[in-house]
Amino acid sequence: MIEIQNVHKSFGDLEVVKGVTMNVNKGEVVSIIGGSGSGKSTLLMCINGLETIQRGSIRVDGIEVHAKGTNLDKLRRRIGIVFQQWNAFAHLTVLENVMLAPRLVLKLSRSEAEAVAVKQLKHVGLGDKLKVYPGRLSGGQQQRMAIARALAMSPDYMLFDEATSALDPQLVGEVLDTMRLLAEEGMTMILVTHEIKFAKEVSDRVAFFHKGVIHEIGSPDQVIGNPQKPETVQFLKSVL
């Protein structure tokens, strides 16, 4: 379970997250929608400790992420994250990309890591691209590789930060299919997305972010189907 309690985050004088409280239960899929610059990405980074926070607390399975003694490297194994830019390691083949962290972080043997990697790459439909360098893949394929790379760590949580925003429109579908598959398998996920239709379809809950706070949160039918706040209506009108 991820418990976010009154989190504040500033870059210098600019306060980006202004008191966010939200819980994500095991097996739940929560989508975060909202305008550009509203602090969605920043919140995701705070959840796995890639960014620090100034106030509040974030707990993952009871572990305080921003406490002094917390071993972040260890914590991050349990939280996979996929970025808008897929960040393929250009010098490694697809298979090696996925094997690297299991070998270095989980200390798996070469054959164990390879087995895990092959399994995850097949899972996302890249079973035939193992020996290829990422430079030869399409954006959609690279993004699916990034998903497999995160899954290879057997995370308990997956965070997606606009995983399809940098893709050509015809490639969005294949990545969404992969994410849908994960949701159906019961993975706990937080999705930051501009794909409102997709969010409505896969999410258990949807949160509308506006100027660093959660403006509205609830079931997809409530927030997307029947929004209460004028800002939410306004936003949905602009993206749909």
Partner: protein
């Protein structure tokens, strides 16, 4: 026009070619060693430059600045005579190696710094988000990609290093290509012939290094 009485004598140079080639080998491996150590130091200086510790950062900046803004020969002198002043005697070979390594490290750090800008910060972030330590992210994700970018400058620096080894003779080194050649001319006074051949050997060494690096580059960085 000129009073030209000189008779070139190439035979004895040919006879002494094996000694010069032995010297060439020393030249080559001294340069290579100075590069290997230089690269390791440069990578260290690079991370020192990026650290938050003022002392570490100043050492790195100072090193780079001195290495690039003073003559290599002065750097070698400083090590050779300067360390002697502390009572530590240092062989001319060690002074040469240390001097070139110091110089290489300075220039390479600047090259690496430029190359690092071409490896996006998001690569580190992606690696860290998979649970890698910052050291693992640096050594396994950033550096390998950096090496591809800086491979060409490294090759160039290696060729500079080869040529710089010739400075050893100034502090008395006598078994590298330059030193061995000088030793032979001191015996025979056939300065022009010996050094002309030495020049050719240096040229070939430089071109071979360039060619091998090209091939290695194609093989290593197939992605």
């Amino acid at each position: 026009m000129f009073d030209f009485k000189y008779r070139f004598q190439w035979r004895q140079v040919i006879n002494n070619l094996p000694a010069m080639l032995d010297g060439a080998w020393i030249t080559f491996y001294t340069a290579l060693l100075s590069m290997v150590i230089g690269i390791v130091i440069a990578l260290t200086l690079l991370s020192m430059r990026r650290s938050n510790n003022v002392a570490l950062r100043s050492v790195a900046i100072g090193w780079v600045s001195v290495a690039r803004n003073t003559p290599a020969l002065l750097q070698i002198y400083f090590l050779y005579f300067g360390l002697g002043a502390f009572g530590a005697t240092i062989s001319s070979w060690a002074a040469l190696l240390a001097g070139i390594t110091f110089n290489n490290a300075g220039y390479l750090t600047e090259n690496f710094r430029g190359g690092l800008r071409a490896v996006p910060e998001t690569q580190t972030r992606a690696a860290r988000s998979l649970g890698m330590t910052s050291f693992q992210a640096y050594t396994r994700v950033v550096i390998p990609q950096l090496l591809r970018i800086v491979f060409y400058p490294i090759t160039n620096q290696m060729i500079w290093a080869l040529l710089m080894t010739s400075l050893g003779v100034v502090v008395g080194l006598n078994n590298d290509l330059m030193g061995a050649t000088k030793a032979l001319t001191d015996l025979s006074y056939r300065t022009f012939e010996y050094f002309a051949v030495a020049a050719i050997i240096y040229y070939v060494l430089a071109k071979l290094t360039f060619g091998v690096a090209r091939l290695a580059g194609w093989k290593l960085f197939s992605y």
